[in-house]
Amino acid sequence: MAKLSYAKALNRALADELERDPTVFVFGEDIAAGIARLTAGLAKRFGPERIIDTPISEQAFTSMATGAALAGLRPVIEFQIPSLLFLVFEQIANQAHKFSLMTGGQVAVPVTYVVPSSGSREGWAGQHSDHPYSLYAHVGLKTIVPATPSDAYGLLVSAIRDDDPTVIFAPASAMDLREDVTAELVPVPIGSARVHRHGHDVTVVALGHLVTEALAVADELADEISVEVFDPRTVYPFDWAALAESVDRTGRLVVIDDSNRFCGFGAEVVATAAEELRLIAPPRRISRPEGAVLPFALALDRAIQPGRDQLTAAIRAVMK
């Protein structure tokens, strides 16, 4: 029974797709050396025609991937830090995402953008600790934040095979998670949620590394409150049918979200639930504050991120 790490799962998914499909290749910085782990060992195995080290020209190589996709290839881009997704916002949101509709369906842009260490990295401070998945979901990119090694594997495979541009965030705090993988690793469909723990009092929606936090809180509260831990796995498109099924049973909703509060993922889940689902208590959001900038000092960095205490308090609040 093999222990598989989250980082290794991403690495294996990428390797399997490179092996299976000759049109897949990777652009990124320092990916031959594989310092971000996503591409570890791949340059040796697939060579410099498939694993391409790029200069620090993110805007150019991001749109180059779009052009290569128009020519029938399936590019994967590794971004070393999450804020690079700010730098290439034009190239992804205004070019790659819009090509299919603007051309009247003449083309597809099957590019996969991977951030193999998103969110806080403890001590990387203001410009290297962002978690911009809500931004990409808002503009309409398929946006994925896997929580476990097997989901990281299955969702990266599906993203690469998907015909639309897709962004995958691998939270830095999840990269070292390990899982006992018994079954064979398989693709996980984009847009399908997963219930990690069943419960009947309250549905807690959590993504990525926060699923681990939610499960821990659910354990702590087990004797008093039965918590269902719901992991959408994909931010957009969101699995509303699965959420409805869960909330129909629990009637209560708490969302924990590592992006900024205002117009964040948590807002979307709470808003749609308020519009469409039957809630017996007001829903609650836990998130980064509005306009959050992560301060350097560790205690401050942590104070900005959504945590267990807040989640516990929110769960108790909706049970009142």
């Binding site: 025609e49 790029t54 200069p55 020209s57 805007q59 150019a60 190589f61 991001t62 749109s63 180059m64 991937a65 779009t66 052009g67 290569a68 996709a69 128009l70 020519a71 029938g72 290839l73 590019p75 034009e90 190239q91 205004n94 070019q95 090509f99 299919s100 509709l101 603007m102 051309t103 009247g104 369906g105 003449q106 083309v107 597809a108 842009v109 099957p110 309409g140 398929k142 998907d162 015909d163 639309d164 847009g191 498109p237």
Partner: protein, 313 residues
């Protein structure tokens, strides 16, 4: 060139009549650049275009009828009425699309060139852009990558002296050639009003790119006879003099080339082209408008259906 000129004249009328909504960036005066460059390309070669793209799209071989239908927002248009003037694309003709973002298409062209190089198809890609794009970072990043990887890519700078109201000299420190040189790209400056001169420059650079000699820059010195965009009609702008415009009009690319063609031949071509444009207009006019309920079609190649909006509740 005559086709482009007639097409643009007709399009200008349709903007006035309201058959074309949103206006256009007319290419009138610059026809020799698109015509000369595209004449040097194979059918399977590719181009990217700009906000001022009608000339490039027609010169690369798109059907004028479907192009005009696109400008009129009809389902029979190149983009099924979804793109319009600034996004006209025809992948079948190697047209990767006009692009509404200055400099935005260059790296897309480089990606297509990279794919062609990788597959060994022998295709060459041409990216057209204006002098204004010379100051857009992503274009400069692209020159570096194209040079570094010896991509089969030709950069064609249409230097018409202005970026909207801003004179090139007021915006560009150094020059187009200097920028190319910085990355080791050879460059050729050419008279953009003379289609023969443009063609010979294009032929040599395209041949070099096809043979693996890497990218080059062509700077075509040209001039737009009309407004930056048709809205300019509504506002009086004083960024250039009538006298300057008149001076350039004396070097109308159509006259320069026309003088090289025997009159009867010329008249025959002109007549043919008028017929083509009339047919195109008739085609566009008689084509159906898209149905509002299909407004979200093609948003996702995978068929994902977005929530919200009138289109789907």
């Amino acid at each position: 060139m005559r086709l482009i000129r007639e097409f643009e004249e007709r399009a200008l009328e349709l903007v006035k009549t309201g058959e074309i909504v949103g206006g256009i960036h007319p290419y009138i005066g610059e026809e020799a650049v698109a015509a000369g460059v595209c004449a040097a390309l194979r059918a399977d070669d590719q181009i990217t275009s700009t906000h001022r793209g009608h000339g490039h799209v027609l010169a690369k071989g798109a059907d004028p009828s479907r192009m005009l239908a696109e400008l009129c927002g009809r389902v029979t248009g190149l983009n099924r009425g979804r793109g319009g003037s600034m996004h006209a694309a025809d992948l079948g003709s190697g047209i990767l699309g006009a692009n509404a973002i200055v400099g935005g298409a260059a790296p897309i062209a480089a990606g297509a060139a990279w794919a062609a190089q990788r597959k060994g198809t022998g295709q060459v890609v041409v990216t057209f852009f204006g002098d204004g794009a010379l100051n857009q970072g992503v274009l400069l990043e692209t020159m570096n990558l194209a040079a570094l990887w010896r991509l089969p890519l030709v950069f064609v700078c249409e230097n018409n002296g202005y970026a909207t109201t801003m004179a090139t000299a007021a915006a560009v420190a150094g020059s187009a050639a200097g920028r190319a040189g910085a990355f080791g790209l050879p460059s050729i400056e050419v008279d953009g009003m003379d289609v023969v001169a443009v063609h010979s420059a294009a032929a040599s650079t395209v041949k070099a790119a096809r043979e693996g000699a890497g990218p080059t820059l062509i700077e075509a010195i040209t001039y737009r006879f009309g407004p930056h965009h048709t809205i300019e009609r509504k506002i009086r702008l004083a960024y250039r003099t009538q006298e300057e415009i008149d001076r350039w009009r004396q070097r109308d690319p159509l006259d320069l080339q026309g003088a090289r063609i025997p009159a009867p031949e010329r008249d025959r071509i002109d007549a043919e082209i008028i017929a083509v444009i009339d047919a195109a207009h008739e085609f566009a006019r008689s084509s159906p408008d898209p149905d509002p309920k299909d407004a979200l079609d093609y948003l996702y190649a995978s068929g994902l259906v977005a929530r919200g909006g009138t289109a789907n509740g």
